[in-house]
């Protein structure tokens, strides 16, 4: 196995922080460390002092008992509590800032699969075990998993988020220092867990533009549009089913009276489990595409729906050609090639030597795919 980075120093004691949020986390950690070292020295020192001063000099010693006092007990309960509360609020502040990506952050999709990271840029670039991002911009990752739970961990950015199957998690960062950084899977995921690693490359804006120009494939929205045609979605949508134009991020009433925002998670659920939240006034007739579409294809369909506009930006980018990419699938061709062969199970390119999983997931998918056909 090749490790992409060579250490600058043989002995590294403190990891570089390449984001402002990472540096703030370091500051909090250092304060906690300083207080902890003080506490350890205080307790060790006191024990050492007592151990010397009050060592037993005669086996007949019977020291006078001392009763504890409420004042002392209260003091050493309340002071740690107050210090802990300080840690709590500072830590929560960082955690909440990390959980809320800025509105205009560029979005990149990440899919974990045993044992690789698949990265899809909205503009069509695809990467495996690499992530190229520009320095000085807010980048939001939308993370999911194709099989088991993984965890997307960039130590230099001090971020980590589990990639959970069936769920979109989000994480964001603002990298300031160009360079190459480790990317690890932090959640144990089976045989080659320690091989599920990669590199995050932070590029200066100009270098990033050059990189973008290099490997452009079909944009996600275009790919999604093709899927939309292929599965005949327009046979119903816009006729007996709700139109998808300007649906993204719209608030829609459900048949049970609730109101739902059509975000990524809702769109995904409605593709895979259409009966869960039906828009009021429409019949519950859509078949499930669970097991038919891969996680990537679901993301592409969502990108297509996004390209049909949002309520705030009505009219912008209507139609299939709205995506930026116009070229053929020149990036990493394998997924598309297989999709064109009609093999719907094959995404992402299967580097998995461990056949059991492959068999199992295709078995489940075949079974569920069969159900869909029965319904149709």
């Amino acid at each position: 196995m090749m490790w992409p980075l060579t250490p600058a120093l043989p002995l590294e004691l403190w990891p570089l922080a390449a984001t402002p949020a990472g540096r703030e986390m370091d500051a909090l950690f250092l304060v906690e460390l300083a207080i902890s070292v003080f506490m350890v020295l205080l307790i060790f020192g006191t024990i050492f002092l007592f151990a010397i001063k009050y060592r037993r000099r005669s086996p007949l010693e019977r020291p006078r008992p001392i009763r504890g006092g409420l004042a002392l007990e209260t003091t050493w309960s309340v002071i740690p509590l107050l210090v802990f509360l300080g840690f709590f609020f500072w830590g929560a502040k960082i955690y909440f800032a990390n959980a809320a990506p800025p509105k205009d952050a560029m979005q990149i999709y990440v899919i974990g699969k045993q044992w690789m990271w698949y990265v899809q840029h909205p503009t069509g670039q695809r990467e495996i075990n690499e992530l190229h991002v520009p320095a000085g911009r807010d980048v939001q990752l939308i993370i999911t998993s194709q099989d088991v739970i993984h965890s997307f961990f960039i130590p230099a950015f001090r971020i980590k988020k589990d990639a959970v199957p069936g769920m979109y998690s989000t994480e964001w960062f603002h990298a300031t220092a160009p360079g190459s950084y480790h990317l690890f899977c932090a959640q144990y995921c089976g045989t080659s867990h320690s091989g599920m690693i990669g590199t995050v490359v932070v590029l200066k804006e100009a270098d990033y533009q050059q990189w973008l120009a290099g490997g452009r494939g079909e944009s996600m929205a275009v790919a999604g549009g093709k899927l939309y045609q292929k599965y005949g979605c327009d046979n119903c949508h816009g006729r007996i089913c709700p139109t998808l134009a300007r649906l993204y991020m719209q608030e829609r009433p459900l048949s049970d009276g609730r109101i739902v925002r059509a975000d990524e998670a809702y769109l995904r659920e409605s593709i895979l489990d259409p009966g869960a939240k039906v828009i009021a006034g429409y019949p519950n007739v859509m078949p499930s595409f669970r097991g038919v579409l891969s996680e990537l294809e679901v993301l592409q369909l969502i990108a297509y729906i996004r390209s049909l506009g949002t309520p705030a930006l009505a009219g912008e980018g209507e139609g299939i050609g709205a995506g930026q990419g116009t070229g053929t699938a020149a990036g990493i061709a394998a997924p598309d090639a297989r999709t064109q062969q009609g093999n719907q199970n094959a995404y992402p390119p299967d580097s998995n030597p461990h056949t059991m999983q492959g068999e199992r997931s295709s078995e489940v998918q075949k079974r569920e795919g069969g159900e869909v056909r029965d319904k149709q």
Binding site: V40, R56, I66, G68, M167
Partner: protein, 541 residues
Amino acid sequence: MGASIEPLVERTTNYLNAEHSVKSWLLTTDHKRIALLYLVSITLMFALGGVFAMLIRIELITPQGDLLSSDSYNRAFSMHGIIMIFFFLVPSIPATLGNFLVPMMVGARDLAFPRINLLSWYLYITAAAVMLYVMVTGGVDTGWTFYAPFSSLFSNGRVTLTVVAVFIAGFSSILTGLNFIVTIHTMRAPGMTWGRLPLFLWAHYATAVIMVLATPVLAIAMLMLGLEHVFHIGIFDPALGGDPILFQHLFWFYSHPAVYIMILPGMGVVSELIACFSRKRIFGYSFVAFASLAIAILSFLVWGHHMFVSGQSVYAGLVFSILSFLVAVPSAIKVFNWTATMYKGSISFDTPMLYALGFIGLFTMGGLTGVMLATLGVDVHVHDTYFVIAHFHYIMVGGAVMAYMGGLHFWWPKISGHMYPEIWGRISATIIFLGFNLTFFPQFIAGYLGMPRRYHAYPPEFQVYNVLSSAGASILAVGYLMPLIYFFWSIRYGLRAPDNPWAATGLEWKTASPPPTENFEYPPVVLEEAYHYSDEEAPIA
């Protein structure tokens, strides 16, 4: 120290030589004999878990995965975790020292349900046998945490049987807890009021409550995992309509309180040791006792701190974070009170005291790093790295195992009737303390640098910390082998132990070493508080 004082009257029969047949051991209902059955069984499991630890440490000396294959490595750390948690740490102090001492400390003849006590050992042995069968027929690669859907539908190990083993071991633990609760409630000797209970009993009472209330949830989680694994019933795998986060909630609802099942009895042992070797009543007795109960209650409310990056709601994270800080307060209270107990005491440095002092130091470091992990922003970075590994080994090995070793030395004269060689005891305690720190301190640094846990191969910049850690592990192994040798040696060659070699208080020291089968010649009556080391009245502070 007191080893030279021979008992005045030589008693001839005790629980060890009352009967000699194999049947008299395997069908015994004597809590002291059952404690010894447990002692032998968990020592074997500890050795086995230790072998897997050595495999892990040898593999990690080099960054490449060269000694074991990935699948073998994953099996090694899974077996290490499962054996050490479910088959050593959870039963360790309660099933051995607790079994031996709870009836003696309350002044009773046996536990409330002696036959259930024996059943609990048989359940443990059955579970251990199933686990050994798993080990020799292919092992399991889920880690001790069994996260779904990996464990239920993707693992290529023997998940079903492992789940069965953990399920059975859980019932062994429930029965032990039940026995302790009923015994402490109903079988206290005349005069043994709640306010006079040794802190060892308060700690075991709190532990037993957790065992009885939390372990069934583990059983439920294991059962559901088994159902999904065998019958493909969709509970946790989203492809089958399940929710993988649900498994984590169920698992940690047991497994976080389980951390306190492992550490609370250790705190009880340390309270006894500090008091005895300082010849002082524990400072703030009632605060230490109620801290045990506070820990037991709060331990049920903090499980979500294992899931800060799992995608659970950020508001849930907020609640679990603040509750985790709160559970650190009673632990801090205990540490301060132990330290204050030494003030103006008469301190001697026999082996058990060395372990107790080691416990305070290492537990403090484990606790403070736990506070860092409870901090939301910091946990995001160090979660699932070696920082977490180092933290919980400081609590589990630096805390629970140090206390277990200290307790074993302290009560060994009572259990075996013989003294261990004091000088070797001090040497091995020192070796264990140094070896432990060399093994686990470097892992804090490797973890903060970003080395993820459960990695078979790792980037070369982490190598120096792994080499230090592996070197420390070999020292630690020597430290653990020494007591094993000299305890056996002492049974044959050790000096005869007097009834009370440490001049300690407590009912267990008021009977013979080793005690007769019925524990006491006359039913004891308690006339004074615990740790009554001096007849002088304490001034009211």
